[in-house]
């Protein structure tokens, strides 16, 4: 393919996780290096630091460990994003730390991923960290998982060892609810089965890591059922030159689920009023239909009270509603979550006050088993809680829709983001028949 027609067809977001010395950063360095995504000046910078600190040995991990503290301590302290493209796909990598106290960063890096790579050291086999990371991937409902069994060179490329680790992993897989898991034997340091197939693993017939990343099917990862438009911004031109725009009132947002068509009946919440889609306005001209995750501006047939935080929805597959929420949360702050404390809860484009009414249990993150009710949730704990909000939320279960089923909690005063939350589906569903009073 000529370079000028270089056109990846879509984006795959993935994250890598593993313990401190599993070689995550080395693997990413290897993917970039072998896919020729590294440039001469980056290699030069690596060589410069190799001469100073590495005794002449190039350290591929230095590519992603960008902050000074990380190079000093030899650990990855935050999520680093890396980009590369092949003719088939553009890739966004979130390199997330495996260090225990940074689990919150892993949740951050993994939240929007299509795929997660769990690295396992072939010498150590499946350890607590590998289990923890797989459980987080499962809780966040990342659709695809790669278990990369690394450092195969240090176990003499033993097929028996590979099978043994795969069995260890498969033993606990049923708990994870993961549909797509691929095991790949690699050596990130030497590049075996990363981009090029290894000559050391004649017993392995599967794809290389990059081969799998390029071909895994992600087309159905977006939700196309049940139209949802959280309104971000009301679009009302001031004194437009164009007379046609004098009465223009559009509702701008990114579609968080489903498909919308001109002429379709929709329900505006919390106003509770139905209307018809008159126009789907975009900068590139009006369109007849739009779908998740496109950003659009809707014009409705009626003048309804809709503002930022409202949601416009389709009349099939109605979302849940209510002020009593039941959710899994990952706690991300040193100050623990306390029962009775008030937080700001941001859900789609809507922010409300919320109070924690109950901490039901903590989830053991290496077994996914519930542990007896704690009095608080601390940094990196994941638990089930109940919340009460000041106003009803319009939402879906996280299992049905990642965008309308997720929220964050923000501490009042410090404004720190303290939790990531995943909602259970509501028992109470929006009732359009009660709300249908067209003005």
């Amino acid at each position: 393919m000529p370079a000028s027609q270089h056109h990846p067809v879509d984006i795959l977001r993935f994250n890598t996780c593993g313990s401190v010395d599993d070689g995550k950063s080395t693997l990413i360095g290897r993917l970039l290096y072998d896919s020729k995504s590294l440039m001469e000046d980056q290699i030069e910078a690596l060589e410069r630091s190799a001469d100073i600190t590495g005794g002449g040995q190039i350290n591929l991990a230095n590519l992603t460990d960008g902050l000074r503290a990380e190079r000093e301590q030899g650990i990855t302290i935050d999520v680093a994003y890396r980009y590369f493209a092949t003719p088939r796909r553009k890739f966004i990598i979130a390199d997330t730390p495996g260090h225990v106290q940074y689990t919150r960063n892993m949740v951050t890096g993994a939240s929007s991923a299509n795929l997660s790579i769990v690295l396992v050291d072939a010498r150590l086999g499946v350890i607590e960290q590998s289990r923890r990371h797989s459980c987080i991937a499962s809780l966040l409902r990342i659709p695809h998982l790669i278990v990369a069994i690394n450092k195969m060179d240090l176990v003499d490329w033993s097929e028996a060892r590979f099978m043994e680790i795969r069995d260890q992993f498969e033993e606990f897989l049923p708990r994870l609810d993961m549909k797509d898991v691929q095991f790949i034997p690699i050596s990130a340091l030497n590049g075996d089965n990363v981009v090029e197939p290894s000559k050391h693993t004649p017993w392995y017939a599967g794809p290389t890591l990059l081969g799998h990343l390029e071909s895994v099917h992600i087309g159905s990862d977006w939700n196309l059922n049940g139209f949802r438009l959280p309104v971000q911004w009301v679009n009302r031109p001031n004194n437009p030159q164009d007379a046609k725009l004098h009465d223009f009132r559009g509702f701008s947002g990114q579609i968080a689920g489903g498909i919308v068509r001109v002429g379709q009946k929709v329900l505006a919440l919390p106003a509770g009023i139905t209307s018809t889609v008159q126009q789907i306005w975009t900068y590139d001209g009006p369109v007849q239909e739009a779908f998740c995750p496109q950003s659009v501006t809707l014009v409705l047939a009626h003048d309804i009270d809709i503002s930022r935080g409202s949601m416009i929805i389709g009349l099939d597959q109605l979302p849940g509603t209510g002020t009593e929420l039941h959710a899994k949360v990952c706690w991300m702050h040193q100050r623990p979550l306390l029962r009775g404390k008030k937080y700001f809860l941001k859900h789609t484009s809507n922010t409300v006050q919320a109070v924690v009414s109950e901490i039901e249990h903590r989830i053991n993150i290496t077994t996914l088993e519930p542990e007896p009710a704690p009095t608080e949730l601390g940094l990196n704990d994941i638990g089930e809680i109940r919340l009460r909000t000041a106003k009803p939320l319009i939402y879906d279960g996280y299992a049905a829709n990642r965008l309308t089923g997720s929220f964050i909690l923000v501490e009042q005063g410090t404004n720190a983001t303290v939790a990531a939350g995943m909602l259970h589906a509501s028992r109470e569903v929006v009732k359009p028949e009660n709300a249908d009073y067209v003005i």
Partner: protein, 300 residues
């Protein structure tokens, strides 16, 4: 493949529009940093896509170092006029004259002096949020930065204490005097930017395209000869066919020898490139942590 499919540029576009609208929805006094460079040109188009048919709900802001390429400033002014947007320019010269920015003895570069100038502009207009065109693929410290990057009341970035960013839920809450920097192009690469320029048929300043220019060789780079960079007695001045790949100040932007005179040519050149974009900027080469240090102090 179903009809309900977005390609990579459409994905990046809808993500960036969502970020822009979050800014408009969450902040009272945002500004959009517009230099006339290729990244901010994309930002402007994304702002049009986010907010039209309304006016852009934010003014454009530029810190003029006094060392800008003249072509860049001309382009900046013309584009702002075409948009009908308010353009605010604050000059490093003025900040030096008023004592807001103080050059170190012998300091010629305006890179560091942009910082106090920008912070003074933020204070003057009480901006609570500035949208910038920085991308994570540019540099290692940027690779760690959030879409919504919190700055304390001194304008400082604390890389070890960033707010986690989960899904597409951005925490935009700040206290008075604090500030947010927002980067809608975080996930874009240099290639994405040029492919978007091609798809959207965006105009860019002429210095991105091949032209003849007098240059001198310094520290492995071709620097343009200007009154700010006169040739030294022992230096040979060469007239070369060059273009810029990334635009910094005229005294530190390396010219790349290139015959590329169309966006297609530039895309072909980047696809075959063997050095990164910032490889042609002397300001980042000084130490491995150069960008990290500048960002902590309030730089973009």
């Amino acid at each position: 493949m179903s009809n309900y499919h977005l390609d990579h540029l459409q994905h990046l576009e809808t993500e960036a529009i969502h970020v822009m609208r979050e800014v408009a929805g969450e902040f009272e006094r945002p500004a959009l940093l517009f230099s006339g460079g290729k990244d901010s040109i994309c930002l402007i188009r994304l702002a049009e896509k986010a907010f039209r048919p309304s006016e852009l709900p934010m003014p454009l802001l530029n810190v003029d170092t006094g060392h800008h390429f003249p072509e860049l400033n001309e382009f900046r002014d013309a584009r702002a006029k075409e948009l009908g947007a308010k353009l605010i320019v604050r000059r490093v010269e003025d900040a030096i004259a008023s004592g807001v920015a103080v050059p170190a003895p012998g300091e010629i570069s305006r890179n560091r002096l942009q910082i106090p100038t920008l912070l003074a502009a933020i204070e003057e207009f009480r901006f609570d949020c500035c949208i910038g065109g920085a991308r994570r693929d540019e540099e290692k410290a940027r690779a760690k930065e959030r879409f919504f990057s919190f700055r304390d009341s001194f304008g400082q970035w604390d890389p070890k204490n960033q707010r986690p960013e989960i899904w597409n839920l951005y925490n935009a809450r700040i206290n008075p005097g604090e500030n947010m920097r927002v980067f809608p192009l975080s996930n874009w690469t240099e290639m994405d930017v040029w492919e978007y320029i091609r798809r959207e048929k965006l105009e860019v300043p002429t210095i991105y395209f091949s032209h003849r220019r007098q240059c001198v060789r310094r520290q492995g780079q071709w620097l343009p000869v200007t009154t700010l960079v006169p040739p030294k007695p022992n230096e040979e001045v060469r007239e070369l066919v060059v273009r810029v790949r990334t635009i910094g100040d005229i005294i530190s932007t390396g010219m790349v020898e290139s015959p590329a005179d169309s966006v297609d040519d530039i895309i072909a050149e980047i696809a075959a490139a063997r050095v990164t974009e910032r490889g042609s900027r002397a300001d980042d080469k000084s130490s491995e942590a150069a960008m990290e240090d500048r960002k902590k102090a309030g730089y973009f």
